[in-house]
Amino acid sequence: MKHVNIIPLLIAALAFLAVTASANDRYTEAMQKNIEIVYKGKSVEEIQAAVNAFERIGDAEKSKWEPFYYASYGYLMVALRQNDPAGKDKHLDLALGVLKKASAVNPGESEIVALEGFIHMIRVSVDPASRGQQYSGLAMQTFGKAIGMNPENPRALALMAQMQYGTAQFFGSPTTEACGTLQKALEKFDSYTSENPLAPQWGRNMAEGMKEKCK
């Protein structure tokens, strides 16, 4: 009789696990599907739809930072596809706004800070002459902060390398520092592992592309 009592309990426990696992799977699945779209999406409409999905998930899952992080990344991708400065700025504003929600959930996440720096960096490109001074300093500071929070974050390093390279090139000074940072970034891309199946994966191609310049 004893084990008869245990069996239903075990099954109940297993069933419970299955339910929570399926809830988690549902989150991961929904996220992964849309992450794929923001990484590979071609049209603005596709990305906007994924961003909307991230915002829905983020509103429902109040303890997760990833949905708003990817919504922000999506807006940044839309900004890059805009031709007029006003449209770029508008989407950068949206990217920054939704990223604030992510950092409210997880203020210590280096990836969020690195993405913030990326937004500042793109802000410069809208009007380098008048914004360079303000935003390139801000971008560098933010990348520095992200690296400080997690020295293993390859994206923060790769973005920092880009900024350093651009500055060195502008002043015709040696690019050794920038290329050093890039080397570190590439190493970290190789060694980077995360237990989080939704951890950001982007940035490697950008770093690989920069490798040419550092030869």
Binding site: V4, I7, P8, I11, A12, A15, A18, V19, S22, R26, A30, E45, Q48, A49, N52, A53, E55, R56, I57, D59, A60, D84, P85, A86, D89, K90, D93, L94, D127, A129, S130, Q133, Q134, S136, G137, L138, M140, Q141, T167, F170, F171, G172, S173
Partner: protein
């Protein structure tokens, strides 16, 4: 066990059976489809994005009462309660437009806003610093914008037929009594405040907000920077002096101090000057700024500035140049400005400030000594509120307390006055939509000295004609106390008044800006000499000014280049002071044209700049002619260049030269008070002190982050 299994099974499969569909279309209030809208059930994953035709459809397994939410940028969020026991098809969701201050129409009549923060400005703070010919002087750079008239011997801003003192400067909302440094007669003065201190400059050539009073023609509103992010030390070695500055940054605060010494004597030793200096100008100046962030949204700022300058020169008599009079000027200036800004709640924010200005000017002309002192305190408290997304309110009160004295050592009589102006203002921005806004408000003032109570209305409208174009109109009534030199003789005078009517069209498209503005302005109660006697004054003067102005700016067409072109036409006459009847005043010119060009050459790490200005002839009175004010000077022309070279991230070499072509500009003529033997009044042209002004500077910045340089301050 069986029961448990059934329960588990039900839990996992039940939703499949309870699936409902929700579909429909998202439109705006006019019925136009809105694509890209997020359609969702609140706090669930379920939802979709509206398609290009605005249509949406999704299924959900949720049950019971749920909130359907539809949201999209630029529209108000829409919510609808749905009982999910059945499907919903054919829903029509009309989204209402949300008024967004960033996207919405702005009132641009009369206003030139330059800001690093707002991204829709047509003139930026950095533009001031890098305009050739301006030598980093705020007034000099703004002189390349429409609405200004070049008055080369003054250096001040003259706006739309107004005198130089009709433009008032405000720092963080607080009045500056004397915004220009002292200058020898007929030589240009420089602004006391350096452009790099400010993150935003708003230059209004008329129709400005009710918040700003005591300005007849124009308000120059400067917003100082917030706290600095990083520590640094700057050195400047200039051909006319040196300066050193240090900035210390903490987590939520920063302190910056600067000391500068300017001595133009060695320079004047090299380059021959029109002026017979005894002692060329020397000045020592210091400024200091402290910023502290308080709580989440509070910002506390203190800024202080002191300046001492002196010079002396021999003034040669027009009839006999060998007869000279010594003019000796000794000037002290102190300015202290404290302000605090914070948000009170989601809707309201508070601004408060206190400023103190002291100007002491000791002037000796021959044997006569005049000691002038002007001391002012300005206190202000203002509130900004968003009552809804359609109504913005600005209201506040201020007191301007001023003590002026002018002592002449040959007389025991000390003319002076004590003026207290108490004022309150209220202004509301009413948005009918993102396309149409009305600003209505007024300013109430009581002036104890003039014993005048006044109500000055302001109203403006702006309408967006398309995605990038807009029309705006502004009207306002403005007043200003008479100049110190009149008020000190007669405390019974009234304020001088003006009315502005401005119509503006502006088109901003992809880094190109076109602007055209027309205006009509009337002056009343201007100071007038009774029967030409400068000691008997009244308020019976009057005048008008009208004109059309064009502005075009383009930093798109030519790569790495930015240029702007301004043209102003002015027709003005005034019957005031000693004029016999209404005439065009000597500072007014009918045509003002300027082109500013800046080009960055990456391979040389150098920015080249050039500014060309043209001003048509200005009137002057020739006592040898029967007709009053009949003379016209020849036109004014100037081509100035500057070069900034950045060999290293923290080093800048800067060179500038005004009037490269050496054009002999004449600003007017002075006449002798008495006729010579032939019955003619002898004359002398008022010229530039030297044909050119050449400046060379080397600027070094030391900081942890080596990429910081002083470019924004040049």
């Amino acid at each position: 066990m069986k029961n448990v299994l059934i329960l588990c099974f039900t839990m996992l499969t039940l939703p499949v059976f309870a699936q409902v569909t929700i579909s429909g279309v998202v439109t705006d209030v006019k019925g136009e489809p809105v694509p890209g809208a997020n359609v969702l059930l609140l706090n669930t994953y379920d939802g979709t994005t509206s398609g290009l035709d605005g249509k949406f459809s999704f299924t959900t397994t949720e049950k019971g009462m749920q909130s359907l939410v539809v949201k999209f940028i630029g529209f108000k969020e829409y919510q609808l309660q749905l009982d999910l026991s059945k499907s919903y098809t054919g829903l029509t969701i009309a989204l209402k437009e949300e008024i967004n201050q960033l996207e919405a129409v702005t009132i641009t009549a009369g206003a030139f806003a330059a800001s690093d923060e707002s991204r829709r400005t047509i003139f930026r703070a950095l533009d001031i610093a890098t305009t050739a010919g301006a030598t980093a002087d705020i007034a000099g750079a703004l002189n390349t914008l429409p609405g200004t008239q070049k008055v080369g011997e003054s250096g001040r801003l003259f706006v739309r037929g107004g005198d130089g003192n009709e433009v008032r400067t405000f720092i963080d909302g607080m009045l500056v009594l004397d915004a220009y440094g002292p200058a020898a007669p007929n030589t240009p003065s420089r602004g006391r405040f350096l452009p790099f201190m400010f993150k935003g400059t708003s230059f209004s050539t008329g129709g400005y907000s009710a918040e700003y009073g005591q300005a007849l023609s124009s308000a120059l509103v400067l917003d100082s920077k917030d706290e600095e992010q990083s520590s640094r030390t700057d050195f400047g070695l200039l051909s006319v002096g040196a300066d050193v500055a240090h900035t210390q940054a903490w987590k939520n605060a920063s302190w910056a101090g600067k000391i500068g010494y300017t001595n133009i004597r060695p320079y004047f030793g090299l380059i021959n000057q029109e002026i017979d200096w005894k002692k060329a100008p020397v000045s020592i100046e210091g400024s200091s700024a402290y910023r502290q962030r308080v709580g989440k949204s509070g910002m506390f700022k203190v800024y202080g500035n002191f300046n001492h300058s002196d010079f002396s020169l021999h003034h040669h008599d027009i009839d006999d140049p060998d007869v000279t009079t010594l003019i000796d000027v000794n000037n002290n200036f102190r300015y202290l400005n404290g302000s605090y800004k914070t948000s009170l709640n989601e809707k309201w924010s508070l601004r408060s400030g206190l400023s103190y200005t002291l100007t002491q000017n000791n002037l000796q002309q021959g044997d006569v000594k005049l000691n002038e002192s002007d001391e002012g305190i300005h206190a202000k408290l203002a509130f900004d509120g968003s009552l809804s997304d359609k109504v913005e309110i600005r209201t506040g009160a201020e007191v301007i307390n001023r003590d002026y004295q002018a002592a002449v050592d040959t007389s025991s009589f000390v003319p002076g006055f004590h003026e207290v102006i108490s004022a309150a203002f209220v202004e509301a921005d009413l948005y009918a939509s993102n396309k149409f806004v009305t600003r209505v408000g007024g300013r109430v003032e009581y002036n104890n000295l003039l014993n005048q109570f006044s109500v000055d209305p302001r109203i403006s409208f702006a309408y967006k004609t398309g995605k990038n174009g807009q029309v705006s109109f502004a009207y306002g009534k403005f007043r200003q106390s008479p100049k110190n030199e009149w008020l000190r003789w007669d405390n019974q005078l009234g304020a001088e008044k003006s009315d502005h009517y401005i119509l503006n069209y502006q088109l901003i498209e992809n880094r190109r800006t076109f602007r055209v503005e027309g205006y009509y302005k009337t002056y009343s109660d201007l100071i007038k000499f009774k029967n030409g006697n400068p000691f008997v004054l009244n308020n019976e003067g009057s005048g008008y000014a009208r004109g059309v102005e064009l502005f075009y700016r383009d930093n798109k067409t030519i790569r790495n280049a930015d240029y702007w072109i301004s043209y102003s036409f002015l027709d003005t006459e005034r019957d005031y002071l000693d004029t016999r009847y209404a005439v065009t005043p000597s500072f007014a010119s009918a045509h003002n044209f300027s082109v500013v060009y800046k080009h960055f050459v990456s391979s040389l790490k150098t920015q080249f700049g050039a500014t060309y200005s043209f001003t048509s002839g200005r009137p002057y009175n020739n006592p040898n002619e029967d007709q009053f004010n009949n003379g016209r000077t020849r036109s004014y022309q100037d081509l100035s260049v500057n070069i900034s070279y950045l060999p290293k991230p923290n080093l800048i070499v800067y060179f500038s030269c005004t009037n490269v072509l050496g054009y002999d500009n004449i600003f007017g003529y002075e006449y002798s008070n008495t006729q010579n033997a032939d019955g003619i009044y002898n004359s002398r042209a008022i010229r530039q002190a030297a044909p050119r002004f050449v400046f060379l500077g080397v600027f070094i910045t030391l900081s942890k982050d080596k990429s910081i340089n002083q470019l924004p301050s040049l």
